[in-house]
């Protein structure tokens, strides 16, 4: 019997699933080796039998379950718990699942305020549909709700990494990510002397387009806010990080270098320690734009 895989997506955008589908021939090999028992994007297994059963989620058993997206509603919780119960090994796939991701930016506001903004200005009043939503008080990462066996961050994770991870799990081998930062594989020129001022990305970095990335000066040293030093590496495999290849500074989409890291504090700390003016940053809380779960992003409290 082939090993069974089960996939779900919660407060997600489907980018992680597309990353898996982008793996080309590797995907075909994988499909040959496993049996997919549940995957709403690709196949028609449903939660309940058609005669209702409101709120129940029945999922088939699987050796490996992969869940993308954060947890933001009661329905997400129900689906996630069903995945945890039915899958022997549970993988949280992608930065939304491991750290909250972009949707956790909403945690800066109380849920009521966010709903009001989204539904304001529509005709038919601002009545917020509640039969469908049942939102939680904030956006959570998966490990805040259930025990997770493997975490693979990335927005999205690298296609090859997803395949490698599944292959390792199928072979019964442990899968660990090296806890290195983006800078580890970044070939840009670092002189050790940065600009004093951090500037907004309103003009392109300085580089010669006919030359490679390795001949470009480090973007952080150029005064652009590159979050490479505080972000988990590997987005470009062993080659240059992807955003750097586009000549654009890193914004931290693989989450912190280690699971419990705080990208805001770490980045401001890195700037301060190197004599760069952290006060020039216009919107510093968005340094947590990918890792706002775990209570890191919360509404500003009023002074008493």
């Amino acid at each position: 019997m082939r090993p069974r895989l089960s996939f779900e997506w919660l407060h997600a955008c489907s980018g992680c699933e597309i990353a898996l589908l982008n793996s080309g021939e590797l995907l075909l090999d994988l499909l040959d080796r496993v049996e997919i028992v549940h995957f709403p994007l690709l196949m028609d297994h449903k939660y309940t039998s058609r005669a209702g059963g409101e709120g129940e989620v029945h999922l088939p058993e699987a050796e490996i379950g992969l869940v993308s997206g954060g947890v933001a509603s009661e329905e997400h919780q129900a689906v996630l718990r069903a995945m945890r119960a039915s899958c022997r090994t549970l993988v949280s796939l992608g930065t939304c699942a491991t750290h909250g991701g972009i949707p956790a930016l909403r945690n800066q506001w109380p849920i009521a305020a966010a709903l009001k903004t989204v539904f304001a200005g529509s005709e038919g009043g601002t009545a917020i549909p509640d039969t469908i939503l049942a939102p939680l008080d904030r956006v959570y990462s998966i490990d805040e709700q259930v025990a997770v066996d493997v975490s693979l961050p990335g927005c999205p994770p690298r296609s090859e990494s997803i395949i490698e991870m599944i292959a390792a799990l199928l072979a019964g081998e442990p899968f660990h990510l090296p806890c290195k930062s983006v800078c580890e594989t970044c070939p840009t020129i670092r002189t050790g002397k940065g600009q004093q001022k951090v500037r907004r990305f309103l003009a392109n970095a300085e580089y010669d387009p006919e030359k490679t990335v390795a001949e470009m000066r480090c973007l952080l040293e150029q005064g652009l806010l590159c979050m490479g030093p505080v972000t988990a590496g590997g987005c470009g495999g062993k080659d240059a990080p992807l955003c750097i290849r586009a000549r654009v500074p890193c914004r931290g989409c693989f989450g912190p270098v280690r699971q419990g890291g705080n990208q805001l504090l770490d980045m401001l700390n890195a700037l301060a320690s190197n004599g760069m003016g952290h006060r020039d940053i216009v919107d510093r809380r968005s340094l947590l734009r990918f890792s706002g779960a775990h209570g890191l992003l919360k509404p500003l409290r009023e002074r008493k």
């Binding site: 997506w9 955008c13 980018g15 992680c16 699933e17 597309i18 990353a19 589908l21 982008n22 793996s23 080309g24 075909l28 997919i36 709403p40 994007l41 690709l42 196949m43 028609d44 449903k46 939660y47 309940t48 058609r50 209702g52 409101e54 933001a72 509603s73 991701g101 949707p103 930016l105 909403r106 506001w109 305020a113 966010a114 709903l115 903004t117 989204v118 539904f119 200005g121 529509s122 009545a127 549909p129 039969t131 469908i132 939503l133 927005c155 999205p156 907004r200 990305f201 309103l202 003009a203 392109n204 387009p209 992807l242 586009a246 000549r247 654009v248 216009v282 919107d283 968005s286 734009r289």
Partner: protein
């Protein structure tokens, strides 16, 4: 026996949805609703952020069409800052946008929709999917997987990231195209165009030919249409005027920044996705299946209907054949799939046109932008439909307000009507089976929500 039959989740679509079908005492369909449960709240959490960061945040609205949100946002931010992008930057943006349509359409037709047609709408759900397609037609499936990957890798090779792109920036593009990159992309684009033509022929001969009745009848409703057109009414995916067509065939063209005069959003209590209707028709909004009001559709069939012609030769020939068979406007919901493949051919041809433009390798790709207070409205045709990003900024160039109308939003109302029609035509006296339910889902899948 009042009963509710639920399909949860709707599968082989690009998001989360459920269908609830209400039966009355005699087992007839009295209502059917498509419920969308996802609400992230992007319009809230972009507030207060520097505008030039927004394109890298809102691309995460969708992992299948991130380039669309990325570029609509970039255009809107240019508007806020009062900046005209460098010409090469403008070309590179359109190139990436059109290229991004290609993988999306291959994904939808072959991975999501085709199993219903090639493997049959009934039968074992464990077979009726891409895995089943791989087993039944291994060479076709292998080619499909490779072509999709190729289209994505072209974007990644040139622009760094294919999923959740970063290369579109206020004032232009982050990096220019070198000549050797251009030659590589040209060669790959020709491969994609050949595949697109093959895919459409395959679909016409092996797929659509076996479903002639369903093409015209399943989920079919009568609505208006919204798309984008350019010079001489030619189909446009990247920019142009919006064209709104009334069910009676009359049209009006308007620039995207006047969208609020023509379109209005409405909240219904049973769907977290807002609905949009054509305010300018002056008939209000109603989802009454016998007399819908204000309802229009977007996405491939809509764009094919509203355009007068397509400016690239192979796609134009296909359009003429399509119109010869189905007229204009064509209302058959499953015809979305056919229109999607015509657009696939156009996207490949347009990619080649853009790469052939000498200006695309100009190194001046970005003009610097200065933050200021303003409002900008950017629009593109996403695979799912007309996409509008509307932002306002303060003196520091930070967002004060955002309104986003995503492609699928325009189609929420028509999807509900189509599902109602499909359910009513298939279910009677309370008799329901899995194949019927799947056919009802097919009426949703055509919209590629």
């Amino acid at each position: 026996m009042n009963q509710v039959i639920s399909i949860h989740p709707v599968t082989r679509i690009e998001g989360h949805a459920r269908i609830d079908i209400h039966l009355d005492e005699s087992g007839q369909v009295c209502d059917a609703r498509v419920g969308i449960a996802a609400l992230r709240g992007f319009e809230q959490f972009v507030v207060g952020r520097p505008a030039e960061e927004i394109p890298r945040i809102v691309n995460r609205i969708c992992g299948i069409c991130p380039w669309m949100h990325h570029l609509a946002a970039v255009k809107a931010i240019d508007g806020c800052f009062g900046v005209r992008p460098a010409p090469a930057g403008h070309l590179l943006r359109e190139l990436c946008q059109v290229l991004a349509h290609i993988h999306d359409k291959i994904l939808h037709f072959f991975f999501l929709a085709a199993p219903d047609f090639v493997l049959g709408p009934g039968g074992d759900y464990a077979v009726r999917n891409i895995m089943g397609l791989v087993r039944q037609e291994p060479e076709l499936a292998a080619q499909v997987v490779r072509m999709r990957q190729l289209a994505q890798m072209m974007l990644e090779r040139f622009a760094g990231k294919a999923i959740h792109p970063v290369a579109g920036v206020a004032g232009g593009f982050a990096k220019p195209m070198r000549e050797e990159e251009r030659q590589g992309l040209l060669a790959d684009s020709r491969v994609l165009l050949d595949f697109a033509s093959y895919a459409l022929d395959y679909a016409k001969n092996k797929v659509f030919s076996r479903f002639c009745d369903a093409l015209q009848s399943l989920g079919t409703i009568t609505t208006g249409f919204l798309g984008t057109v350019g010079h001489q009414g030619a189909l446009r995916l990247y920019d142009g005027s919006l064209r709104l067509m009334h069910p009676d065939g009359t049209t009006v063209d308007f620039p995207a920044n006047e969208y609020e005069r023509y379109l209005a959003e409405q909240v219904e209590p049973w769907s977290s996705a807002k609905m949009v209707y054509a305010r300018s028709w002056g008939e209000g909004f109603s989802l009454d299946p016998d007399a819908p009001r204000g309802v229009y559709r977007v996405n491939t069939l809509a764009r094919i209907n509203v355009c007068d012609r397509i400016a690239t030769p192979r796609a134009q020939a296909e359009l003429e054949e399509f119109r010869g068979r189905f007229g204009r406007p064509a209302q058959g919901t499953l015809l979305y799939h056919w229109a999607r493949l015509i657009e696939l051919v156009y996207a490949c041809e347009r990619t080649l046109e853009l790469l052939a433009d000498e200006r695309i390798t100009d190194p001046a790709v970005r003009v610097p932008a200065t933050p200021r207070a303003g409002r900008g409205i950017g629009h593109v045709e996403a695979p799912r439909g007309t996409l509008i990003h509307d932002y306002s900024t303060d003196d520091n160039g930070c967002i004060t307000r955002a309104n986003l109308i995503v492609g699928t939003t325009h189609n929420i109302a028509p999807m509900n009507l189509s599902v109602r029609q499909a359910a009513a035509s298939l279910i009677s006296a309370g008799a329901v089976d899995d194949e019927m339910l799947n056919r009802i889902e097919m009426a949703v899948r055509a919209y590629d929500p």
